[in-house]
Symmetry: C2
Subunit: 168 residues, 2 copies
DNA sequence: TATTGTTATACTCTATAACTATA
DNA sequence: TATAGTTATAGAGTATAACAATA
């Protein structure tokens, strides 16, 4: 049996999360590692997105590309790849597919024919909007289960940390 | 919904081309998708953990296993695998390594010799504590950049959503 | 020569299937 | 027969390296 020596519980008593059936009593400050909460939550969110993406005929990478292209037209595929934190070779099949379906244009830059000017078509923008609306509707469903007070701080904190993780 | 910085204008710039459908949703979402913030943040946190794990001689899976074993002794490897959301075959090399280094014990259950009783050794618990202390210290550094008000709500909201994602 | 995009290859991670041992 | 654990194999996803086009 485990010897739960109380001595070693200095700052690091471990959380007993995820044991279904027993609501946690977080009366004590010990918290799980951030990554141990953020990463599984991210997986859950992605799993929740998947059926919506399927219904809209988009892969996750395709959706990510549409999102980043809509913000502002991008001049090179390498820049797009960096923006979505992907390898430049990884998005090529994605662009091939989106272009073939008329969701984006990939035109050689007249001023530097090596580069490809990337822009969304009207169809691409429409699909992006519809997909994002559905996704965020699902997310609102989840956020609704947060106390109103926490919800504000959670969203602001998440946004801040996300923005920070760009430039450390 | 607070008005935000001008940087948000890029994400909010959704021309939408007079989508005539249903403007009954004036909830044009000026926020990124949750997954689009949570997943990259998770990757950043993992990347920040990596050097600490290296310094302590642990892989990420090894650390995860130590964390979950410390909570309470687990009776079967399959249960452990499910707890850490991994395939049962995926953690076997991890357990092999941790056992060989004396960080955990893997004893056949006398009552059912098919099962392996998993328990942490004192060394395993000590390494776990030291590693987690270092990781959370790094995380505190990041959390310190949040406004105090947001920080509380962020941590509570994150914890709530993480707990929710266990049982949908 | 350097850079953009592309293709081909190799590597990493993960899951599936088959095997051993206990029950 | 069924279950826990293990091993071997195959698959998906990703990155690395070599190539063609343009500058």
């Amino acid at each position: 049996m485990a010897e739960n020596t109380a001595a070693d519980a200095s700052t690091a008593a471990t959380p007993a999360t995820a044991t279904p059936g027993s609501p946690s009593h977080p009366s004590d400050p010990p918290r799980p590692d951030l990554a141990a909460m953020v990463v599984p939550l991210g997986r859950t969110l992605m799993a929740a997105e998947q059926p919506i993406l399927d219904a809209h005929g988009l892969t996750m990478w395709g959706y990510v590309v549409l999102l980043h292209l809509d913000e502002k037209p991008i001049r090179t595929q390498a820049a797009l790849a960096e923006a979505v934190r992907a390898d430049k070779t990884r998005i090529i099949p994605v662009l091939d597919d989106l272009e073939a379906r008329g969701l984006l244009r990939r035109q050689p830059d007249p001023e530097d024919r090596r580069a490809r000017l990337l822009s969304l078509t009207a169809e691409g923008r429409h699909l992006r909007d519809a997909t994002q609306a559905a996704i965020q509707e699902g997310e609102e469903h989840l956020l609704a289960r947060l106390p109103a007070a926490d919800r504000e701080g959670f969203l602001r904190g998440l946004r801040t940390l996300h923005d920070l993780s760009g430039q450390p």
